[in-house]
Amino acid sequence: TAGSINDGGWSQLAKEGLDKLKAGGVKTTVIQKVGADAAATELRDLAADGWSLIIAHGYEFLNPATEVAKTLKGTRIAVSGADVERPGIVTIDFDVSQASYQLGVIAGRLTKSGKLGFIGGGAFPSVKACYRGFLAGAKSVRADATVAEAYTSWDQVTQNKAQAEAFIAQGIDQIYPDVDAAAKGIYEAVAERNTAKPDALVWTYGCVGDANANPAAGKWTLASAVIRLDNAFAHVAKSASDGTWKPGVVRENLASGTCVAVLNPTLVGGVLTPAIQAEVEAAGKQLVAGTITIP
């Protein structure tokens, strides 16, 4: 992993995903906080240690992995979070935009002001896809909804909190963060606001990890667009062991059951009325069927 396995975000999820495989009897190890500069070395080291499958968790490992894969025998490399086809390796592409669309449906239904906000840790395409999905979902149920977007940082909690506060001040009452571990700041802002003004609640969501039970604002987190990494890892692990391994892009999305919207169970039946639930489910079916596409 690129980050620390306890970063409360992307890298930690990978560790948890891996732990689930481990529970299923697979032998695993983790090496964390590897920068692109040392990635090739680490990949070779792991291969030399005899691991049969290396999951390089992060797009920044794509190039080193491609390079290392040229010389490897018996070890397979999967790069999770990358979306490009490269010879010799499997890349796992996560498309969260469809799940984001489902969250957008909820947001569109529950917003009072019609103003929604999206905060991304960086302004690159996979993040923007979540924004577009969220926007499209919201518009599908409330045509006049607007989604303000802002890009902050994946690790600066303070900055993200300040950004969320700025959104709230603008009258935004639904905030969808895609900022990894730094979402703590956004949840903090939401919690603070809702404690102060319980009569005009601001709602929030989770992205990538399941934030429905986050300690700060779990009460006000409606749903999360989750990447089931254990699911994805199990897919590649299976193909690596049963001989179906084929270099190329594995597309993980709503249909594959890996990138899904998970409603907050404590709010289901309350704020998340059966009607909304039904709508979210319907949208999901249409997305899988391809009758709805994200622009």
Partner: protein
């Protein structure tokens, strides 16, 4: 949406961002007045930030966290003082070493904390906003958002600024600090223990930096993420210089910088903003600091002995 609310939000954000800068800045101001330039302030803030979080997470008592932040930062500040004052190594370089130590130390300690599952503060254990406990005060126009709809640290920062201004103008301590930074020879000849004063100033600055760090983790966000001070300490150094080593100047500088930060947040969500790379917005406060420093020029030199070891040989 009325403009008034947006302005209020802008000001609230500005003050919230200015608070840690001011607290750490006041400490650094005292140290620089005494002739010590500590660019390890970033590391000290990080140490405080972590220690406050760790102890609050473990005990549920944020006051203990504050105490831990002060102690941790002072311990690290003590390392800086030993190296740069007692051993007379170059202050800049010693500051860099402190930063390294803080980054490594908090990184490793954070892992230990996580292994114990202490990655979140127990519910309701952080400090809460609206330090007076009277929500109505926060609704007051202007002073509400500026002063009352904030954490206690903001009030503390203002009190500390007042106290420091008073110390500078009206006490012998203020004169001693000034003299030690301006002409340590003269002070030593009068029997003032120059090194002792500098040690005191450095430890005070460390304590302030620790509090500023604690603000970030136990007040402003109730969270810790490695490296979460994100360069604030370096901005503090720029602001002390920008404020010409005066308390008033520092307060103004912190507010301006806070406004730049806060405005950056508002600007990002403007309709046309996406044309500009978002990194530019994030670089904005730093560019503002650079430009402000460049425009301020070299009109007033700092304490004459700033950065110099004592005794010189």
């Amino acid at each position: 949406m009325s403009a008034g609310i947006l302005v209020d939000a802008l000001l609230t954000g500005a003050v919230a961002a200015a608070t840690p800068l001011l607290v750490a800045g006041l400490g650094e101001l005292a140290a620089e007045r005494a002739g010590v330039l500590n660019i390890g302030i970033e590391g000290l803030m990080l140490a405080g930030c972590f220690a406050a979080f760790a102890v609050t997470a473990a005990t549920g008592n944020p006051w203990l966290g504050l105490g831990a932040a002060v102690l941790a930062a002072m311990a690290l500040g003590g390392v800086f003082a030993v190296v740069s004052l007692t051993c007379r190594a170059d202050q800049i370089v010693a500051g860099m070493a402190v930063n390294l130590l803080a980054v490594g130390g908090t990184g490793a300690a954070w892992r230990i904390l996580q292994d114990r599952g202490l990655t979140d503060l127990p519910a309701g254990s952080g400090f809460t906003r609206g330090w007076t406990g009277i929500p109505a005060l926060g609704e007051l126009p202007v002073v509400g958002p500026l002063l009352f709809d904030q954490y206690g640290m903001t009030a503390f920062a203002l009190v500390l600024a007042g106290v420091l201004a008073l110390v500078r103008r009206r006490t012998r301590l203020g004169l001693v600090l000034h003299g030690v930074g301006q002409d340590p020879h003269a002070l030593a000849a009068s029997g003032v223990r120059v090194l002792g004063v500098r040690w005191g100033a450095v430890l005070f600055a460390a304590a302030c930096a620790g509090l500023a760090g604690a603000y970030l983790s136990t007040m402003r966000t109730h969270a810790f993420v490695p490296l979460m001070t994100g360069g604030t300490g370096f901005v503090v150094l720029a602001l002390v210089m920008f404020g010409r080593w005066s308390v008033g100047g520092l307060v103004v500088g912190c507010l301006l910088f806070g406004l730049a930060e806060s405005a950056q947040q508002g600007l990002q969500s403007l309709p046309g903003a996406r044309v500009v790379p978002h990194q530019l917005f994030q670089a904005l406060p730093y560019l503002v600091a650079l430009i402000a420093l460049a425009l301020a020029g070299r009109s007033a030199p700092g304490p004459a002995a700033l950065g110099r070891p004592w005794p010189e040989r």
